[in-house]
């Protein structure tokens, strides 16, 4: 890497060269992502404890989640990770038009994910599975024949519990964990939209596309959170 002889317009003065500048940004991003891992890690830790304590209630609550929508959403989010990776790949070639295209696709896929999530949330409200004063479990065993989530179809009713607190707790974890995940995606939309405008003004080149790369890291991290949320919330025990 030559530095001062051919000082790049992208090089900030505190760095020796673009390589060092990029590594500094990546290091900071990974340090941030490590704190994010622990932010979600605290919730996963609480999940572990209660899943162990209230396994039967959590198992029953987990089966009410729509497996079809959950699986579809997982595929949608993984696809958005692919399009994000393609945006970074376009960055390597300094192709701002391609960056814009892939980022727009990523945003659309993210919006589809949140839309499906919204349908799932709506279902929870309809079934009174939202924690709070209107929460119902035993009183509302799905009547056979009514359209219900795939896993509890076949006329099967919800198991009865003396104390429905642990069931409600599952839904609290469901809403808080998926809610924080969705919040991270909304923040991601803001970041992606910023990149889209910057790419539109031709800001990036093969020499400098660090922001695209860093937002990519963030987006992939949010994807990984879902990779763990999906089996933990939807697949506790379907047999």
């Amino acid at each position: 890497m030559s530095s001062h002889a051919t000082a790049s317009p992208y090089l900030r003065h505190q760095f020796d060269d673009l390589q060092q500048q990029r590594v500094s940004a990546a290091l900071g991003m990974w340090a941030f992502l490590a704190t994010e891992v622990l932010f979600f890690g605290g919730m996963f830790a609480g999940y572990m404890v209660y899943r162990h304590w209230y396994f039967l209630e959590w198992d029953a609550a987990s089966r009410t989640l729509g497996l079809g929508l959950g699986t579809l959403n997982t595929a949608v989010l993984l696809t958005s990770s692919l399009t994000m990776a393609m945006a970074v790949d376009a960055g390597h070639r300094g192709n701002n038009k391609a960056i814009q295209r892939w980022i727009a696709l990523t945003i659309i896929l993210g919006a589809v994910f949140l839309g499906i999530k919204g349908i799932e949330y709506k279902e929870k409200f309809d079934h009174h599975h939202v924690p709070g004063p209107y929460f119902q479990w035993n009183a509302h065993a799905h009547p056979p024949g009514k359209e219900v989530d795939s896993a509890i179809a076949h006329g099967e009713v919800l198991p009865h519990f003396e104390n429905t607190g642990p069931v409600e707790l599952f839904f609290s974890y469901y809403f808080v964990m998926t809610g924080f995940h969705a919040l991270h995606m909304l923040i991601g939309f803001g970041l992606l939209a910023t990149l889209w405008f910057q790419a539109g003004r031709g800001k990036f080149s093969a020499e400098y596309f660090t922001p695209v790369e860093m937002v990519g890291l963030y987006w992939h991290f949010v994807d990984i959170v879902w990779v763990f949320l999906f089996p933990l919330l939807y697949l506790i025990d379907r047999t």
Binding site: A26, L38, L82, A85, D89, D223, P231
Partner: protein, 119 residues
């Protein structure tokens, strides 16, 4: 890093994307098979493989400098400390459901030895 990225990664990305989708299908399919106590470890193993693919390929951690790889790994280290020490506590508590439903009894008198009554 610019030099190492000269060749296109697109075929690799597509291959990894297909692998991720296959893993999603696998984890959903396995969830419908009765695997009992193995259900959780299997689901978590599949999730870990997916996470490794995303981190190594999409986030290209495998091409990063050692310092960044070290930073990324520390996240796992803290997480391991959090989970292992927490579960050392909760899994060994007398108030855990298993202990409540299978209370320890004195082998001679058959008397319930549990001292913590409520959870």
């Amino acid at each position: 890093m610019a030099q190492t990225h000269a060749k296109s990664h697109v075929p690799l990305y597509l291959a990894m994307y297909v692998a991720l989708l296959v893993l999603v299908g696998l984890t959903v399919a396995v969830a419908h098979i009765k695997t009992g106590p193995f259900a959780f470890p299997i689901a978590m193993t599949v999730a870990m493989v997916k996470a490794v693919i995303i981190v190594a390929i999409f986030m290209h951690l495998k091409d990063e400098v050692p310092l960044i790889r070290l930073f990324a790994m520390t996240a796992l280290l803290w997480l391991a400390i959090l989970f292992s020490i927490l579960m050392c506590d909760y899994l060994t508590r007398a108030t855990a459901r298993f202990a409540l439903e299978n209370p320890p009894v004195d082998v001679h008198t058959g008397k319930n030895l549990t001292t913590a009554p409520s959870r």
